[in-house]
Protein backbone atom coordinates (compact mmCIF):
# COMPACT_ATOMS: atom_id res chain seq x y z
CA UNK A 1 0.00 0.00 0.00
CA UNK A 2 1.47 3.29 -1.09
CA UNK A 3 -0.01 5.50 1.65
CA UNK A 4 1.63 3.48 4.42
CA UNK A 5 5.04 4.91 3.64
CA UNK A 6 8.45 4.33 5.16
CA UNK A 7 8.23 7.65 6.97
CA UNK A 8 4.96 6.59 8.56
CA UNK A 9 6.39 3.32 9.76
CA UNK A 10 9.54 4.99 11.06
CA UNK A 11 7.61 7.55 13.09
CA UNK A 12 5.38 4.86 14.60
CA UNK A 13 8.34 2.65 15.47
CA UNK A 14 10.18 5.58 17.02
CA UNK A 15 7.09 6.60 18.99
CA UNK A 16 6.49 3.14 20.37
CA UNK A 17 10.15 2.64 21.21
CA UNK A 18 10.04 5.88 23.17
CA UNK A 19 6.85 4.78 24.95
CA UNK A 20 7.91 1.26 25.82
CA UNK A 21 11.70 1.22 26.24
CA UNK A 22 11.72 2.86 29.69
CA UNK A 23 9.08 0.44 30.97
CA UNK A 24 10.96 -2.55 29.54
CA UNK A 25 14.20 -1.39 31.16
CA UNK A 26 12.43 -0.93 34.48
CA UNK A 27 11.08 -4.47 34.35
CA UNK A 28 14.42 -5.95 33.27
CA UNK A 29 16.32 -4.30 36.11
CA UNK A 30 13.85 -5.55 38.69
CA UNK A 31 15.49 -8.96 38.09
CA UNK A 32 18.97 -7.59 38.59
CA UNK A 33 21.23 -9.31 41.09
CA UNK A 34 23.07 -6.12 41.99
CA UNK A 35 21.73 -3.42 44.26
CA UNK A 36 22.61 -0.91 41.54
CA UNK A 37 19.73 -0.35 39.20
CA UNK A 38 21.93 0.67 36.31
CA UNK A 39 24.54 -2.12 36.22
CA UNK A 40 23.50 -5.61 35.19
CA UNK A 41 24.99 -8.31 37.42
CA UNK A 42 22.94 -11.39 36.65
CA UNK A 43 19.41 -12.69 37.04
CA UNK A 44 17.80 -12.83 40.44
CA UNK A 45 14.36 -12.76 41.98
CA UNK A 46 15.57 -11.80 45.41
CA UNK A 47 13.99 -8.35 45.29
CA UNK A 48 10.59 -9.95 44.88
CA UNK A 49 11.24 -12.22 47.85
CA UNK A 50 12.30 -9.21 49.88
CA UNK A 51 9.06 -7.43 48.94
CA UNK A 52 6.98 -9.97 50.74
CA UNK A 53 8.82 -9.25 53.95
CA UNK A 54 8.19 -5.51 53.69
CA UNK A 55 5.14 -5.16 55.92
CA UNK A 56 4.69 -1.41 55.35
CA UNK A 57 4.53 -1.98 51.61
CA UNK A 58 2.06 -4.84 51.94
CA UNK A 59 -0.19 -2.76 54.22
CA UNK A 60 -0.11 0.08 51.72
CA UNK A 61 -0.98 -2.33 48.90
CA UNK A 62 -3.97 -3.59 50.88
CA UNK A 63 -5.25 -0.03 51.50
CA UNK A 64 -4.79 0.78 47.82
CA UNK A 65 -6.70 -2.28 46.64
CA UNK A 66 -9.62 -1.66 49.00
CA UNK A 67 -9.88 2.01 48.06
CA UNK A 68 -9.60 1.09 44.38
CA UNK A 69 -12.32 -1.57 44.40
CA UNK A 70 -14.89 0.41 46.38
CA UNK A 71 -14.22 3.81 44.80
CA UNK A 72 -14.20 2.41 41.25
CA UNK A 73 -17.54 0.72 41.83
CA UNK A 74 -19.25 3.82 43.23
CA UNK A 75 -17.58 6.03 40.61
CA UNK A 76 -18.90 3.74 37.87
CA UNK A 77 -22.48 4.10 39.14
CA UNK A 78 -22.18 7.88 39.45
CA UNK A 79 -20.28 8.25 36.17
CA UNK A 80 -22.85 6.18 34.28
CA UNK A 81 -25.67 8.31 35.69
CA UNK A 82 -23.77 11.44 34.72
CA UNK A 83 -23.27 10.10 31.19
CA UNK A 84 -26.99 9.34 30.93
CA UNK A 85 -27.84 12.83 32.16
CA UNK A 86 -25.47 14.37 29.62
CA UNK A 87 -26.70 12.42 26.60
CA UNK A 88 -30.40 12.01 27.39
CA UNK A 89 -31.33 15.37 28.77
CA UNK A 90 -30.04 18.01 26.45
CA UNK A 91 -31.84 20.72 28.36
CA UNK A 92 -32.00 21.20 32.06
CA UNK A 93 -31.15 24.02 34.36
CA UNK A 94 -27.41 24.24 34.91
CA UNK A 95 -26.45 21.83 32.15
CA UNK A 96 -23.48 23.99 31.18
CA UNK A 97 -22.20 23.90 34.73
CA UNK A 98 -22.78 20.16 34.85
CA UNK A 99 -20.76 19.45 31.71
CA UNK A 100 -18.11 21.82 33.01
CA UNK A 101 -17.85 19.80 36.20
CA UNK A 102 -17.50 16.60 34.17
CA UNK A 103 -14.72 17.85 31.88
CA UNK A 104 -12.76 20.10 34.23
CA UNK A 105 -11.48 17.31 36.50
CA UNK A 106 -9.97 15.57 33.45
CA UNK A 107 -7.45 18.37 32.98
CA UNK A 108 -7.40 20.02 36.41
CA UNK A 109 -3.89 19.93 37.92
CA UNK A 110 -3.98 17.37 40.69
CA UNK A 111 -2.45 19.71 43.26
CA UNK A 112 -5.52 21.96 42.96
CA UNK A 113 -8.06 19.12 43.19
CA UNK A 114 -6.20 17.58 46.10
CA UNK A 115 -5.82 20.82 48.04
CA UNK A 116 -9.44 21.86 47.50
CA UNK A 117 -10.80 18.51 48.68
CA UNK A 118 -8.58 18.52 51.71
CA UNK A 119 -9.83 22.00 52.65
CA UNK A 120 -13.41 20.79 52.22
CA UNK A 121 -12.84 17.88 54.58
CA UNK A 122 -11.24 20.18 57.12
CA UNK A 123 -14.08 22.71 56.80
CA UNK A 124 -16.76 20.10 57.49
CA UNK A 125 -14.68 18.56 60.24
CA UNK A 126 -14.20 15.18 58.60
CA UNK A 127 -11.09 13.42 59.91
CA UNK A 128 -8.68 12.54 57.14
CA UNK A 129 -8.15 8.85 56.57
CA UNK A 130 -9.50 5.93 54.61
CA UNK A 131 -12.93 7.44 53.92
CA UNK A 132 -11.74 10.85 52.78
CA UNK A 133 -9.37 9.06 50.42
CA UNK A 134 -12.31 7.08 49.09
CA UNK A 135 -14.50 10.16 48.54
CA UNK A 136 -11.70 11.97 46.73
CA UNK A 137 -11.02 9.00 44.46
CA UNK A 138 -14.70 8.58 43.62
CA UNK A 139 -14.94 12.24 42.66
CA UNK A 140 -12.04 12.45 40.25
CA UNK A 141 -12.52 9.00 38.67
CA UNK A 142 -16.29 9.31 38.08
CA UNK A 143 -15.65 11.96 35.43
CA UNK A 144 -13.44 9.60 33.44
CA UNK A 145 -16.17 6.93 33.65
CA UNK A 146 -18.74 9.51 32.52
CA UNK A 147 -16.70 10.39 29.41
CA UNK A 148 -16.13 6.73 28.46
CA UNK A 149 -19.80 5.76 28.90
CA UNK A 150 -21.01 8.93 27.23
CA UNK A 151 -19.13 8.17 24.02
CA UNK A 152 -20.86 4.78 23.89
CA UNK A 153 -24.29 6.27 24.59
CA UNK A 154 -23.89 8.79 21.77
CA UNK A 155 -23.72 5.99 19.21
CA UNK A 156 -26.54 4.08 20.87
CA UNK A 157 -29.66 3.36 18.84
CA UNK A 158 -32.44 4.78 20.98
CA UNK A 159 -35.25 3.22 18.99
CA UNK A 160 -34.86 -0.05 20.90
CA UNK A 161 -35.40 1.85 24.14
CA UNK A 162 -38.45 3.51 22.70
CA UNK A 163 -39.73 0.13 21.60
CA UNK A 164 -39.34 -1.22 25.14
CA UNK A 165 -41.17 1.79 26.56
CA UNK A 166 -43.94 1.46 23.99
CA UNK A 167 -44.33 -2.14 25.07
CA UNK A 168 -44.96 -0.91 28.59
CA UNK A 169 -41.58 -1.17 30.29
CA UNK A 170 -40.90 1.37 33.02
CA UNK A 171 -37.88 3.64 32.55
CA UNK A 172 -35.99 1.75 35.23
CA UNK A 173 -36.82 -1.61 33.64
CA UNK A 174 -35.88 -0.24 30.22
CA UNK A 175 -32.59 0.97 31.54
CA UNK A 176 -31.75 -2.27 33.33
CA UNK A 177 -32.96 -4.68 30.65
CA UNK A 178 -32.28 -2.83 27.41
CA UNK A 179 -29.80 0.01 27.81
CA UNK A 180 -27.44 -1.44 30.39
CA UNK A 181 -26.74 -4.73 28.56
CA UNK A 182 -25.82 -2.75 25.44
CA UNK A 183 -23.53 -0.26 27.14
CA UNK A 184 -22.12 -2.85 29.55
CA UNK A 185 -18.70 -3.12 27.82
CA UNK A 186 -18.23 0.65 28.08
CA UNK A 187 -19.37 0.62 31.70
CA UNK A 188 -16.93 -2.18 32.39
CA UNK A 189 -14.02 -0.39 30.75
CA UNK A 190 -15.04 2.69 32.72
CA UNK A 191 -14.74 0.63 35.90
CA UNK A 192 -11.32 -0.68 34.92
CA UNK A 193 -10.17 2.84 34.10
CA UNK A 194 -11.46 4.17 37.43
CA UNK A 195 -9.76 1.32 39.27
CA UNK A 196 -6.37 1.87 37.64
CA UNK A 197 -6.57 5.64 38.11
CA UNK A 198 -7.32 5.10 41.77
CA UNK A 199 -4.47 2.60 42.02
CA UNK A 200 -2.02 5.08 40.50
CA UNK A 201 -2.93 8.31 42.15
CA UNK A 202 -0.27 9.97 44.25
CA UNK A 203 -0.98 13.69 44.52
CA UNK A 204 -4.70 13.72 45.37
CA UNK A 205 -4.16 10.81 47.78
CA UNK A 206 -1.33 12.57 49.57
CA UNK A 207 -3.55 15.56 50.23
CA UNK A 208 -6.68 13.71 51.25
CA UNK A 209 -5.45 10.71 53.20
CA UNK A 210 -4.55 10.69 56.84
CA UNK A 211 -2.62 8.58 59.30
CA UNK A 212 -3.10 4.86 58.79
CA UNK A 213 -4.25 5.21 55.19
CA UNK A 214 -1.00 5.29 53.22
CA UNK A 215 -1.44 4.06 49.67
CA UNK A 216 1.09 2.18 47.59
CA UNK A 217 2.01 5.16 45.36
CA UNK A 218 2.57 7.26 48.50
CA UNK A 219 4.83 4.56 49.92
CA UNK A 220 6.68 4.16 46.60
CA UNK A 221 7.10 7.92 46.31
CA UNK A 222 8.66 8.24 49.76
CA UNK A 223 11.08 5.41 48.92
CA UNK A 224 11.93 6.87 45.50
CA UNK A 225 12.90 10.13 47.16
CA UNK A 226 15.55 8.19 49.06
CA UNK A 227 16.96 6.71 45.88
CA UNK A 228 16.36 4.20 43.12
CA UNK A 229 16.38 0.60 44.36
CA UNK A 230 15.62 -2.71 42.62
CA UNK A 231 12.95 -3.35 45.23
CA UNK A 232 10.89 -0.45 43.87
CA UNK A 233 11.47 -1.80 40.37
CA UNK A 234 10.00 -5.09 41.58
CA UNK A 235 6.88 -3.43 43.03
CA UNK A 236 6.45 -1.45 39.83
CA UNK A 237 6.84 -4.60 37.74
CA UNK A 238 4.11 -6.33 39.72
CA UNK A 239 1.81 -3.32 39.31
CA UNK A 240 2.51 -3.15 35.58
CA UNK A 241 1.76 -6.87 35.35
CA UNK A 242 -1.59 -6.45 37.11
CA UNK A 243 -2.59 -3.52 34.92
CA UNK A 244 -1.51 -5.28 31.73
CA UNK A 245 -3.59 -8.32 32.72
CA UNK A 246 -6.58 -6.11 33.48
CA UNK A 247 -6.38 -4.31 30.16
CA UNK A 248 -5.94 -7.58 28.30
CA UNK A 249 -9.01 -9.13 29.96
CA UNK A 250 -11.03 -5.97 29.35
CA UNK A 251 -10.15 -5.89 25.67
CA UNK A 252 -10.89 -9.59 25.20
CA UNK A 253 -14.25 -9.20 26.94
CA UNK A 254 -15.21 -6.16 24.92
CA UNK A 255 -14.13 -7.80 21.65
CA UNK A 256 -16.21 -10.89 22.44
CA UNK A 257 -19.22 -8.77 23.26
CA UNK A 258 -18.74 -6.80 20.07
CA UNK A 259 -18.61 -9.99 17.99
CA UNK A 260 -21.67 -11.30 19.83
CA UNK A 261 -23.50 -8.06 19.19
CA UNK A 262 -22.73 -8.12 15.48
CA UNK A 263 -23.90 -11.76 15.32
CA UNK A 264 -27.11 -10.93 17.17
CA UNK A 265 -27.83 -8.04 14.88
CA UNK A 266 -27.24 -10.16 11.79
CA UNK A 267 -29.50 -12.85 13.22
CA UNK A 268 -32.18 -10.26 13.92
CA UNK A 269 -32.03 -8.93 10.38
CA UNK A 270 -32.06 -12.40 8.87
CA UNK A 271 -35.46 -13.15 10.42
Amino acid sequence: MQRWSRFNIASIVFGFAFLYLPIVLLVVFSFNESKLVTVWAGFSTKWYVQLFHNQALLDAAWVTIRVGLVSATIATVLGTLAALAMTRYTRFRGRMLFSGMIYAPLVMPEVITGLSMLLLFVAIGFDRGFWTLMLAHITFTMCFVAVVVQSRLLSFDRSIEEAAMDLGATPVATFLQVTLPVIAPAVFSGWVLAFTLSLDDLVISSFTSGPGATTLPMRIYSQVRLGVTPEINAVCTILIGIVAMGVLIASVVSRRREIQRVKDEQAAFAH
Partner: protein
Amino acid sequence: MSKFGSAIFNRLVIIIPYAWLLFFFLIPFFIVIRISLSETATAMPPYLPVFDLASGVSGFIDNVKQFSFDNYVWLTEDALYAKAYGSSLWIAAISTFLTLLIAYPMAYGMAQAPNTIRPTLMMLVILPFWTSFLIRVYAWIAILKPEGLLNQFLIQIGIIDSPLIILGTHTAIYIGIVYSYLPFMVLPIYSSLEKMDHSLTEAAQDLGCTPIRAFWRVTFPLSLPGVIAGCMLVFIPAVGEFVIPDLLGGSETLMIGKTLWNEFNANRDWPVSAAVATILLLILVVPIMFFQHAQAKADGR
Protein backbone atom coordinates in the same frame (compact mmCIF):
# COMPACT_ATOMS: atom_id res chain seq x y z
CA MET B 1 -47.44 4.98 38.32
CA SER B 2 -45.32 4.69 35.21
CA LYS B 3 -45.35 8.41 34.53
CA PHE B 4 -44.65 9.24 38.14
CA GLY B 5 -41.86 6.67 38.25
CA SER B 6 -40.33 7.96 35.07
CA ALA B 7 -40.33 11.55 36.36
CA ILE B 8 -38.51 10.46 39.50
CA PHE B 9 -36.04 8.35 37.55
CA ASN B 10 -35.28 11.22 35.19
CA ARG B 11 -34.73 13.56 38.10
CA LEU B 12 -32.47 11.18 39.97
CA VAL B 13 -30.29 10.51 36.96
CA ILE B 14 -29.42 14.17 36.89
CA ILE B 15 -29.56 15.07 40.56
CA ILE B 16 -27.34 12.37 42.05
CA PRO B 17 -24.18 13.00 39.99
CA TYR B 18 -24.90 16.74 39.90
CA ALA B 19 -25.12 17.02 43.68
CA TRP B 20 -22.03 14.90 44.13
CA LEU B 21 -19.92 17.06 41.84
CA LEU B 22 -21.27 20.27 43.32
CA PHE B 23 -20.38 19.18 46.81
CA PHE B 24 -17.05 17.49 46.18
CA PHE B 25 -15.73 19.43 43.20
CA LEU B 26 -17.21 22.91 42.94
CA ILE B 27 -17.78 23.92 46.56
CA PRO B 28 -14.20 22.99 47.51
CA PHE B 29 -12.96 25.68 45.08
CA PHE B 30 -14.93 28.31 46.94
CA ILE B 31 -13.46 27.04 50.17
CA VAL B 32 -9.99 27.40 48.64
CA ILE B 33 -10.73 30.99 47.68
CA ARG B 34 -12.21 31.63 51.09
CA ILE B 35 -9.16 30.27 52.91
CA SER B 36 -6.80 32.18 50.65
CA LEU B 37 -8.31 35.27 52.24
CA SER B 38 -7.59 34.08 55.78
CA GLU B 39 -4.60 34.70 57.94
CA THR B 40 -2.04 32.09 58.81
CA ALA B 41 -2.23 30.91 62.40
CA THR B 42 -0.46 28.34 64.51
CA ALA B 43 -3.50 26.25 65.25
CA MET B 44 -5.37 23.37 63.73
CA PRO B 45 -6.65 24.11 61.12
CA PRO B 46 -3.79 26.59 60.67
CA TYR B 47 -5.76 29.63 59.51
CA LEU B 48 -7.94 32.38 60.97
CA PRO B 49 -10.82 33.11 61.12
CA VAL B 50 -11.96 29.53 61.25
CA PHE B 51 -14.61 28.84 58.72
CA ASP B 52 -17.74 27.60 60.45
CA LEU B 53 -20.85 26.53 58.60
CA ALA B 54 -22.84 26.35 61.85
CA SER B 55 -22.62 30.10 62.52
CA GLY B 56 -25.06 30.84 59.71
CA VAL B 57 -25.43 34.04 57.73
CA SER B 58 -24.40 36.46 60.48
CA GLY B 59 -21.30 34.40 61.13
CA PHE B 60 -20.56 34.46 57.43
CA ILE B 61 -20.84 38.24 57.29
CA ASP B 62 -18.50 38.49 60.28
CA ASN B 63 -16.18 36.25 58.36
CA VAL B 64 -16.29 38.42 55.26
CA LYS B 65 -15.35 41.47 57.32
CA GLN B 66 -12.17 39.74 58.37
CA PHE B 67 -11.08 38.90 54.84
CA SER B 68 -7.56 39.92 54.13
CA PHE B 69 -5.64 40.07 50.90
CA ASP B 70 -2.31 39.73 52.70
CA ASN B 71 -1.57 36.39 51.11
CA TYR B 72 -1.95 37.81 47.63
CA VAL B 73 0.19 40.81 48.53
CA TRP B 74 2.77 38.36 49.83
CA LEU B 75 2.67 36.46 46.51
CA THR B 76 3.41 39.62 44.54
CA GLU B 77 6.17 40.75 46.90
CA ASP B 78 8.17 37.57 46.77
CA ALA B 79 9.63 37.23 43.29
CA LEU B 80 9.82 33.46 43.78
CA TYR B 81 6.12 33.04 43.05
CA ALA B 82 6.04 35.12 39.88
CA LYS B 83 9.07 33.17 38.64
CA ALA B 84 7.42 29.87 39.49
CA TYR B 85 4.24 30.76 37.58
CA GLY B 86 6.28 32.06 34.63
CA SER B 87 8.56 29.06 34.40
CA SER B 88 5.64 26.63 34.78
CA LEU B 89 3.86 28.21 31.83
CA TRP B 90 7.08 28.27 29.82
CA ILE B 91 8.01 24.65 30.59
CA ALA B 92 4.46 23.49 29.87
CA ALA B 93 4.39 25.38 26.55
CA ILE B 94 7.72 23.98 25.34
CA SER B 95 6.79 20.47 26.43
CA THR B 96 3.44 20.72 24.69
CA PHE B 97 5.16 21.77 21.48
CA LEU B 98 7.69 18.93 21.72
CA THR B 99 4.88 16.46 22.41
CA LEU B 100 3.09 17.68 19.30
CA LEU B 101 6.25 17.22 17.22
CA ILE B 102 6.49 13.55 18.21
CA ALA B 103 2.77 12.80 18.40
CA TYR B 104 1.69 14.21 15.05
CA PRO B 105 3.82 11.97 12.81
CA MET B 106 2.83 9.03 14.99
CA ALA B 107 -0.89 9.79 14.75
CA TYR B 108 -0.51 10.43 11.03
CA GLY B 109 1.27 7.12 10.52
CA MET B 110 -1.42 5.34 12.51
CA ALA B 111 -4.19 6.91 10.47
CA GLN B 112 -2.47 5.75 7.27
CA ALA B 113 -1.91 2.25 8.58
CA PRO B 114 -3.84 -0.67 7.10
CA ASN B 115 -7.26 -1.04 8.74
CA THR B 116 -6.41 -4.42 10.18
CA ILE B 117 -3.63 -3.21 12.45
CA ARG B 118 -5.15 0.09 13.52
CA PRO B 119 -6.96 -1.28 16.60
CA THR B 120 -3.71 -2.87 17.78
CA LEU B 121 -1.81 0.40 17.33
CA MET B 122 -4.54 2.25 19.23
CA MET B 123 -4.29 -0.27 22.02
CA LEU B 124 -0.48 0.14 22.16
CA VAL B 125 -0.83 3.90 22.51
CA ILE B 126 -3.41 3.60 25.28
CA LEU B 127 -1.64 0.87 27.24
CA PRO B 128 1.09 3.04 28.85
CA PHE B 129 -1.62 5.41 30.04
CA TRP B 130 -2.97 2.62 32.22
CA THR B 131 0.34 2.02 33.95
CA SER B 132 1.15 4.26 36.83
CA PHE B 133 2.25 7.79 36.13
CA LEU B 134 4.64 7.61 39.07
CA ILE B 135 6.19 4.39 37.74
CA ARG B 136 6.71 5.86 34.31
CA VAL B 137 8.42 8.93 35.71
CA TYR B 138 10.47 6.77 38.05
CA ALA B 139 11.66 4.67 35.12
CA TRP B 140 13.39 7.72 33.67
CA ILE B 141 15.54 8.33 36.74
CA ALA B 142 17.59 5.19 36.06
CA ILE B 143 17.93 6.18 32.42
CA LEU B 144 18.91 9.82 32.84
CA LYS B 145 21.21 9.60 35.86
CA PRO B 146 24.86 10.62 35.24
CA GLU B 147 25.87 6.95 35.61
CA GLY B 148 22.54 5.88 34.10
CA LEU B 149 21.65 3.77 31.10
CA LEU B 150 21.55 6.55 28.51
CA ASN B 151 25.02 7.80 29.41
CA GLN B 152 26.42 4.25 29.54
CA PHE B 153 25.01 3.64 26.08
CA LEU B 154 26.29 6.89 24.59
CA ILE B 155 29.77 6.40 26.06
CA GLN B 156 29.90 2.80 24.84
CA ILE B 157 29.12 3.70 21.26
CA GLY B 158 31.61 6.56 21.51
CA ILE B 159 29.41 9.60 20.97
CA ILE B 160 30.45 11.21 24.24
CA ASP B 161 33.43 10.83 26.58
CA SER B 162 32.00 12.12 29.82
CA PRO B 163 28.43 11.64 31.05
CA LEU B 164 25.82 14.23 30.18
CA ILE B 165 24.10 15.89 33.08
CA ILE B 166 20.41 15.55 32.27
CA LEU B 167 18.73 14.53 35.51
CA GLY B 168 17.94 17.64 37.51
CA THR B 169 17.72 19.98 34.52
CA HIS B 170 14.85 21.37 32.50
CA THR B 171 15.64 18.88 29.75
CA ALA B 172 14.73 16.06 32.10
CA ILE B 173 11.40 17.74 32.85
CA TYR B 174 10.66 18.13 29.13
CA ILE B 175 11.42 14.47 28.56
CA GLY B 176 9.24 13.49 31.51
CA ILE B 177 6.27 15.56 30.38
CA VAL B 178 6.53 14.53 26.72
CA TYR B 179 6.79 10.90 27.75
CA SER B 180 3.93 10.93 30.27
CA TYR B 181 1.49 12.92 28.17
CA LEU B 182 2.24 11.55 24.69
CA PRO B 183 -0.88 9.33 24.48
CA PHE B 184 -3.09 12.34 25.31
CA MET B 185 -1.73 14.10 22.23
CA VAL B 186 -1.69 11.11 19.87
CA LEU B 187 -5.28 9.99 20.45
CA PRO B 188 -7.24 13.17 19.60
CA ILE B 189 -5.02 13.88 16.57
CA TYR B 190 -5.43 10.30 15.39
CA SER B 191 -9.20 10.42 15.75
CA SER B 192 -9.45 13.65 13.75
CA LEU B 193 -7.11 12.32 11.04
CA GLU B 194 -8.92 9.01 10.86
CA LYS B 195 -12.26 10.68 10.17
CA MET B 196 -10.75 12.64 7.29
CA ASP B 197 -11.83 12.01 3.74
CA HIS B 198 -8.76 11.02 1.71
CA SER B 199 -10.30 12.10 -1.56
CA LEU B 200 -9.64 15.68 -0.40
CA THR B 201 -5.86 15.32 -0.43
CA GLU B 202 -6.07 13.38 -3.66
CA ALA B 203 -8.09 16.18 -5.19
CA ALA B 204 -5.52 18.74 -4.04
CA GLN B 205 -2.73 16.70 -5.58
CA ASP B 206 -4.66 16.21 -8.81
CA LEU B 207 -5.01 19.96 -8.98
CA GLY B 208 -1.24 20.32 -8.84
CA CYS B 209 -0.39 20.57 -5.16
CA THR B 210 2.82 18.89 -4.11
CA PRO B 211 2.22 16.30 -1.38
CA ILE B 212 3.83 18.57 1.22
CA ARG B 213 1.75 21.54 0.16
CA ALA B 214 -1.38 19.39 0.14
CA PHE B 215 -0.56 18.33 3.67
CA TRP B 216 -0.23 21.91 4.95
CA ARG B 217 -3.16 23.30 2.99
CA VAL B 218 -5.64 20.43 3.45
CA THR B 219 -4.70 17.72 5.95
CA PHE B 220 -3.26 19.85 8.72
CA PRO B 221 -6.10 22.41 8.89
CA LEU B 222 -8.63 19.55 9.00
CA SER B 223 -6.78 17.93 11.90
CA LEU B 224 -6.65 21.18 13.88
CA PRO B 225 -9.51 20.27 16.28
CA GLY B 226 -7.55 17.19 17.31
CA VAL B 227 -4.33 19.19 17.61
CA ILE B 228 -6.04 21.78 19.82
CA ALA B 229 -7.69 19.18 22.04
CA GLY B 230 -4.37 17.35 22.37
CA CYS B 231 -2.45 20.53 23.22
CA MET B 232 -4.99 21.43 25.92
CA LEU B 233 -4.89 17.92 27.39
CA VAL B 234 -1.11 18.24 27.70
CA PHE B 235 -0.66 21.91 28.52
CA ILE B 236 -3.21 22.39 31.32
CA PRO B 237 -2.15 19.52 33.59
CA ALA B 238 1.53 20.12 32.77
CA VAL B 239 1.38 23.67 34.20
CA GLY B 240 0.43 22.31 37.60
CA GLU B 241 2.57 19.18 37.38
CA PHE B 242 4.18 18.08 40.63
CA VAL B 243 5.63 14.57 40.28
CA ILE B 244 7.76 15.23 37.19
CA PRO B 245 9.58 18.39 38.38
CA ASP B 246 9.96 16.84 41.82
CA LEU B 247 11.56 13.59 40.68
CA LEU B 248 13.31 14.61 37.45
CA GLY B 249 13.94 18.33 37.94
CA GLY B 250 16.62 19.56 40.28
CA SER B 251 16.12 21.32 43.58
CA GLU B 252 16.39 24.70 41.87
CA THR B 253 13.63 23.95 39.36
CA LEU B 254 10.72 26.24 39.96
CA MET B 255 7.31 24.95 39.03
CA ILE B 256 4.16 26.12 40.68
CA GLY B 257 2.79 22.66 41.50
CA LYS B 258 5.96 21.94 43.44
CA THR B 259 5.86 25.36 45.13
CA LEU B 260 2.28 24.76 46.22
CA TRP B 261 3.13 21.30 47.53
CA ASN B 262 6.09 22.62 49.54
CA GLU B 263 4.11 25.58 50.85
CA PHE B 264 1.50 23.17 52.07
CA ASN B 265 3.48 20.16 53.29
CA ALA B 266 6.79 21.68 54.37
CA ASN B 267 5.82 25.19 55.46
CA ARG B 268 2.31 24.23 56.60
CA ASP B 269 1.09 27.55 55.30
CA TRP B 270 -2.45 26.75 54.20
CA PRO B 271 -3.68 30.24 53.35
CA VAL B 272 -0.65 30.95 51.12
CA SER B 273 -1.00 27.62 49.34
CA ALA B 274 -4.71 28.34 48.86
CA ALA B 275 -3.77 31.70 47.32
CA VAL B 276 -1.21 29.99 45.05
CA ALA B 277 -3.91 27.53 43.95
CA THR B 278 -6.45 30.31 43.35
CA ILE B 279 -4.10 32.22 41.05
CA LEU B 280 -3.12 29.03 39.23
CA LEU B 281 -6.81 28.34 38.72
CA LEU B 282 -7.37 31.86 37.37
CA ILE B 283 -4.50 31.40 34.91
CA LEU B 284 -5.89 28.07 33.76
CA VAL B 285 -9.55 29.03 33.63
CA VAL B 286 -9.28 30.38 30.08
CA PRO B 287 -7.63 27.27 28.57
CA ILE B 288 -10.00 25.03 30.56
CA MET B 289 -13.10 26.83 29.24
CA PHE B 290 -11.61 26.64 25.77
CA PHE B 291 -11.06 22.91 26.19
CA GLN B 292 -14.62 22.35 27.42
CA HIS B 293 -16.05 24.33 24.58
CA ALA B 294 -14.08 22.28 22.05
CA GLN B 295 -15.04 19.07 23.83
CA ALA B 296 -18.74 19.94 23.91
CA LYS B 297 -18.60 20.78 20.21
CA ALA B 298 -16.91 17.47 19.44
CA ASP B 299 -19.74 15.68 21.22
CA GLY B 300 -22.11 17.20 18.73
CA ARG B 301 -23.88 19.62 21.02
